[in-house]
Amino acid sequence: MRVLVAMSGGVDSSVAAAVLSEEGHDVVGVTLKLWGGESDTGCCSVSDTEDARRVADRLGVQHHVFNFGDAFDKQVVAPYVQGHSAGLTPNPCIECNRHIKFEKLLMRAEALGFDAVATGHHVRLVAVGSGYRLGRGLDAAKDQSYVLYMLGQQQLSRLLFPIGHFTKAEVRQRAEVLGLRNAAKPDSQDVCFVANRAGGRQGFLERHLGESPGVVVDSQGKMLSKVASVQSVTIGQRRGLNLGGTAEPRYVTDVNLSNATITVGCREDLYTATQPVESVVWADAPVPGVLDVQVSAHGKVALGTLEEAGIVRWQTPQRRVAPGQAVVFYQDDLLVGGALAV
C-alpha cells in the first residue's frame, strides 16, 4: 500500500512510519506546519520538523512539509477563540483532528494517490462486521481514542494506526533499537499554539479576547473576587479565581457571560443527573442503551444513556461537563460515537 504517515517529530509517529516501512508499504512522511504565530513549542516548530525529517532519512522514506496554516487558523484557532467568547470550552486538538488531520490531510492524501493515511495515535483499528471501530490503545494510560471520536466509516476505512498495539515503553524501545534520535523525547502535553511562557491558555485567551472583567460570587450571590477575563474561565475550574485560601476547595459551577458573573460552589454543586449534548456523531449506526461515557481525554468512564432529546442520563450523578467539551461513548472498549457538551 502507498501510505502517507503524518509525522510530528515525536516518537509515536516516528515508530508508526518505521513499522509500516518494515511491513513493506510504500511510505511517505509528512509534517504539517500548522501555526506560525507566537508559539513555537508545538507540533509545527522547526525543530520538530527537523526531527521528523531526520527520522524519515534514517528510515529511508521521503519526507514533505505541508503548510496547513491557513486552514488551521480558520478551523481551529479562530473557533477556539470564538468558542470561548461564546462561553464554550472547545478542545482544539479534537477540532484539529476533525478538520485538519482527518479531513484536509486525508483529502490531500487521496488526491495525491495514497491508499491510506497513518498517524502515531495510541488507538487500534478493529474490524467489526463489514466496517471498522476505533478501539482503545493497548497502553491504557496513553489511549487517545477520545480525541478521535469524530471518525466515521469513510475515514476509518482509509486510516492506519500502527502503534495502537504497543505500550509506550515498547514504542520507545523500538525507536531505540532503530536508532531514532527522538527515542527519549518527552510526550507533547500542551495545545500547540499556546505558549507556556506567555501565560498559557489564560494568557492566550486574554490577548485574543481582550479584557472582559467579571465577578466571582457564591451560590447566594455574595461577591467574592474579580477576574480579568470572564471568558477564559471554565466550569469545574479551581485555580486563577483570586479567591485566596478557602476552607474547602471551591469550583466554578456556572459562567454567565451576559452579566459577567462566575458562580463558585463546593464539589457537590458540580454534580448533575443529566448532561445535555449536541452534534452527535456515530462511528456507524446509533447505539442505544447504557454506554461507557468519557468526558475528558484521560478521564474515568461513567455509565450513561443517550436519550433522544440529546440528553445523557447518568446512572449515578456526574460532574457537569464544560460546554464545548467532547462527550464520548464506548461499548466494550470500542468507540461508538461522541458529541459536544452543551
Binding site: 511517505v28 509545527c44 512539509v65 503548510n67 490531500r108 488526491a111 495525491l112
Partner: protein, 399 residues
Amino acid sequence: MAELPAEVAYLDNAASTPLCQQAAEAMAPLQRDLYANPTGSHRMARDSRRRIDDARDVMAEVLGCEPGEIIFTAGGTESDNLAIFGRCWHMADLRGAQGVVSEQASVPVCSAIEHHAVLEPVERLGGIMVGVDASGTINLDALASELSANTAIVSVMLANNETGMVQPLAQVAEVVRSAAPNAVLHSDAVQAMAWLDVAAQAGDADLVSVSAHKFGGPKGTGALMVRNSLELSPLLLGGGQERGLRSGTHNVAGIVGMAAAAEVVLQSRAQQVERVSILRDRLVDGLLAKVPHTVETGDRSRKVAGSAHLCFEGVESEALLFLIEDVGVYASAASSCSSGAQDPSHVLAAMGYSRELAGGSLRLSLGYETTQADVDLALSVIPDAVARLRDHASDALAM
C-alpha cells in the same frame, strides 16, 4: 520504496542553478593545492590572493564597475543585509558624531516585492515598503510620495524572484534623485545576472547584490558592488578584509568559481536568453492552452527569459508540486520557509492576488541547462496533475 522517475526536468533554476563545468574545474584544484590564506605574505598566500584579484576583475567587468568596488560576501542575503544595515548604520553613526543638530537621512525604503533578505532588514529598521501594480512593477508615484530628505537608502530589485518581472531601475533612480537627495540606490540583482546586462540595467545603482549559485556558480558566495565614494558600516568585524567591509578569511574557491561562472555568463548570456525564452514561451503558451482557468502572472514581455509563473485556480501549490515531483518535474511555488513548507507569497499579495488564487501558484524557472525535453515533460505532466487535483477538490465539495 517508490521508484525514482525515469527522467527529471529541473525547473527550479531561480532557486539554484547547476554548477557550470567551468566553475567546477576552476574550483577543484584550489582547496587541495592552493590552501594558503590569501592575506598571508608568503608565496603561496600571494598566489592565492592573485586568484581573488583576478576574480575581482571579472566581477567588476560583469557588474560595470571598478575592481575596488567589489566586496565579496557569502551570498545574496549577506550582500543585501550589508547594503541595507551597512548604509543605515553608517548614517546613524554620522548622526551620532554630529549630534542631533544635523538632521541625517535614516529611513530605508524598498518595494513590497523584495526578497526577504531586503524586506526583513528594512522592516527591522522601521522602513517603508512601496506597493506594486497588478503586473508586479513598482509604483513610481507611490515611491515618490514616500521619499524625502530623510530617506537613507532605496532598495528595488532588478528582477523579481517569483514573477521574473524586471523593475524599471533607471526610472526609479530618477525618482530617487529628485525626491530623496540624501538617499543611495540599492538593487538586488540576484535573479537578473543570468539574463540581463546588469552593468547597464543597474548602472544607476550605488549598491548591487549578486549571488553565485543563481548563475552557474557555487553556493555560499556572492558580491556587493559598492560605488567608490560610498561609505558603509560593516556587519562583520575582524581582520579587515574587503576594505574593512567584510572581515573573514576569503572563500577562495567560491570566489574563483563565481568569477568563472560570471565569465561564462558574459560570453553566452545573449544566446542563452534567445534560446531559453523560446523554450519558456513554449512552456507557458502550452500550459495556458492545455489548462483552463490558468492565469499567467505579470507581463511576459517584461520578464527575465527563464521565468514562467502561473496560478491555477482551484489548486493548492503544495499538492501540485508533490504530484509533478513524482513524475520528475522539480519546481516551486513561492518562497519556501526554513522548514520546507510553502509559505503564502508576499509578492502575489502585493500584486493584489486573492489568497486562494495565489495559493495555486507554480514557478517554473528555466536555466542554461534546460532543454526542449524538459519543457515537453512539464507540458505532458502538469495539465494532468492540475486536472486530477481539481477533480478531487470538486468531489470533496460534493461530499
